[in-house]
């Protein structure tokens, strides 16, 4: 187990290095043209651009450019030229909102996703299964930002009612109740997509597992159906959900909920990137992309370890 952990961690470090290289390629190499003009943003003066070109080493070979970029990113020196703010500081400021959104929403989507999956698998083929399947498909087919806009309009801005606050984020330590109240709608909106998705995946897994020999054995032993479902079927069927959940959780934590954050004005990490797009302000987007990728890499290690713990068949030797 320890050697597996060590190997996995070395792999993760290599992936992180590769990820930084991809970020470099995306922002500096792929677009072609003059990178200094892009980094400088729309409002940059010719003198700014000359300074940036020198500062980032764009007049030097590409490995120097990569080195300079990495040094700026890892030491927290990355600066948004359009707004004159330090990118790392802004990301850190956004973390509480993003984490609050992620943790609440993930609890909702995991709970209801499993519930939906189990119910529709148990009732497979019946009316309730069909209704749930259709609802799950509708949930998957809705763009999350549109659902957010519509929900905010009808439930918070007075389109129908004003049950919820009209966007914004309140820190947990300032007022826990207000924190909860402000996040309720974003949580549900973000969770809808995942509930539909997880429900469908789990339904398929459960239906596959039900036909396994050991489930038949359990039935033959005379175990109660509920016990078979929880102890025998679900335990196996939930393993792929663990992988999905780990990676989705990491993606949302890493700023992947950029749309929900923007629509509900939560001032999270994702929204910081979104705001920068309109100004064509690239350094914040570079920072957030790297930040998000790091989270996913870390969580994929955690998921692998959990996986090995949960499923002895794939436990590495």
């Amino acid at each position: 187990m320890l050697s597996f952990l060590v190997r996995r961690l070395i792999g993760a470090v290599l992936v992180c290095i590769a990820v930084t290289f991809i970020v470099f390629v995306i922002f500096i190499v792929i677009p072609g043209g003059d990178p200094a003009e892009r980094i400088g943003g729309k409002l940059a003066t010719p003198q700014n651009i000359i300074n940036i070109r020198h500062d980032w080493g764009f007049d030097r070979p590409f490995y120097v450019q990569y080195g300079v970029m990495m040094q700026k990113m890892l030491s927290g020196d990355l600066v948004s030229y359009t707004k004159g703010q330090n990118v790392a500081d802004q990301i850190i400021q956004g973390i509480p909102a993003t984490f609050s959104l992620t943790i609440g929403a993930s609890i909702i989507w995991l709970f209801f996703g499993v519930l939906v999956g189990v119910i529709s698998a148990v009732k497979a083929g019946k009316l309730s299964d069909r209704v749930i399947t259709v609802l799950a498909l509708v949930g998957i087919s809705m763009p999350v930002f549109w659902l957010g806009i519509v929900a905010r309009y009808y439930l918070a801005e007075g389109g129908l009612v004003t049950w919820f606050p009209d966007g914004g984020y309140v820190a947990f330590l300032t007022n826990p109740f207000s924190w909860f109240y402000h996040l309720m709608l974003p949580w549900v909106v973000l969770a809808v997509l995942y509930i539909g998705f997880y429900g469908r995946v789990l339904r398929g897994n459960v239906l596959d597992t039900v036909n396994e020999d050991y489930v038949r054995t359990a039935k033959a032993k005379g175990l109660a159906p509920n016990r078979i479902m929880v102890k025998h079927v679900l335990r196996t069927s939930l393993i792929p959900i663990v992988t999905l959940f780990g990676l989705d959780f990491a993606a949302v934590l890493g700023g992947g909920a950029i749309l929900t954050e923007t629509v509900f004005d939560l001032h999270g990490v994702g929204q910081y990137a979104a705001q920068s797009i309109n100004d064509f302000d690239l350094p914040p987007i570079m920072g957030v992309t790297l930040y998000g990728a790091f989270f996913i890499v870390i969580f994929s290690v955690i998921v692998d370890l959990l996986y090995a713990y949960l499923d002895p068949r794939i436990r590495p030797t």
């Binding site: 677009p31 072609g32 809705m142 763009p143 549109w146 950029i258």
Partner: protein, 371 residues
Amino acid sequence: MAQRAESEFTLDTASELASAERSTEIRGRSPWFLAWRRLRRNWVALGSLCVFFAIVIACLLAPVYAKHVAHTGPNAQHVLEQITVNGESRQVVSSGGYIDKKSGKPCVISGPECTLISAIPIGPQWFSAGGRFVLGADAIGRDVAVRLLYGGRTSLFVGIVSSAICTLLAIVLALLAGYFGGSTDFVITRFFDLFFAFPVVLLGIALGAALAVNGLHWGPIQLEGSNIWIPTLIISYVLIPYVGRPLRGQVLSLREKEFIEASVAQGARPWRIMFVELLPNIASSVLVFFTLIIANNIVLESALSFLGAGVQPPTASWGTMIADGQQLIVTRPWLALAPGIAIVLTVLSLNVFGDGLRDALDPRAKVKIEH
């Protein structure tokens, strides 16, 4: 006949036996025929396909609608114009002011229920204005119904073309990785893994933002930042691993089958084995993936455009229209509702059809799109 078959066993025996049977009783049925027969019984899936085609045709007919019904173009602004609704003359865009959040009517006394709006476009007229402004106008007096159809063209173009590119590249990479194995496989799977390390939307935004500033300038490829091919290419690249990885798995298991061994023994070249032997065997998965990826890409396009990293204004797309509509949602909810409903209908129809197609092609298949 049967006795002869037992005594003189030749290669022709089976076909001779078959020819003696009445042709109506035994008929060769290809897997595709069987799949079609299963699909034909699935009314929901076929209905969804019809809905999707209806949407595509409606969007293709956008110029006809614009010219003969709405009498305007997708980007024509009618800010200062007046239209006649049921004999009354009304302004397309009225000047703004404080508006009641609930009713959308001007506020008499300003208070917390009121919000300041710079301009109020005309709401949905349905067909009372002679086909003009059926779904109302947006903030700068453009006909929303016309933009909805033109936007659909953009969104469907980006969705379908990017899925085609994505699927093609994923097939090639999967075949190369699965067939050659070894170091080729290692490089390609690592490439896939790397892309999995980024949240899809974030990666799309990173590329979209980087390319939207000055466009793409690579030798002969010169694309301006507002070119529609930029979001199309970005979306197609971002999702390659999500199609490529499961396909590679299939190729890997097919490669060990006897028919590949037979082909190798006959001296077939790698490209022949890949494209003539392996490709037809993963075709059904490819078809399902293609359908579901279109749905996925339409949503992704709308997300990128909504954030400003996809289709650039003033080009209409469903995503940019929702972004425009969000500003005015309190007074004119239809601006944001209409394109959203269009996306949901399109994507839902594709998802339902894709599901049915998967069930028909291989009832036991586990082709899933992980977003």
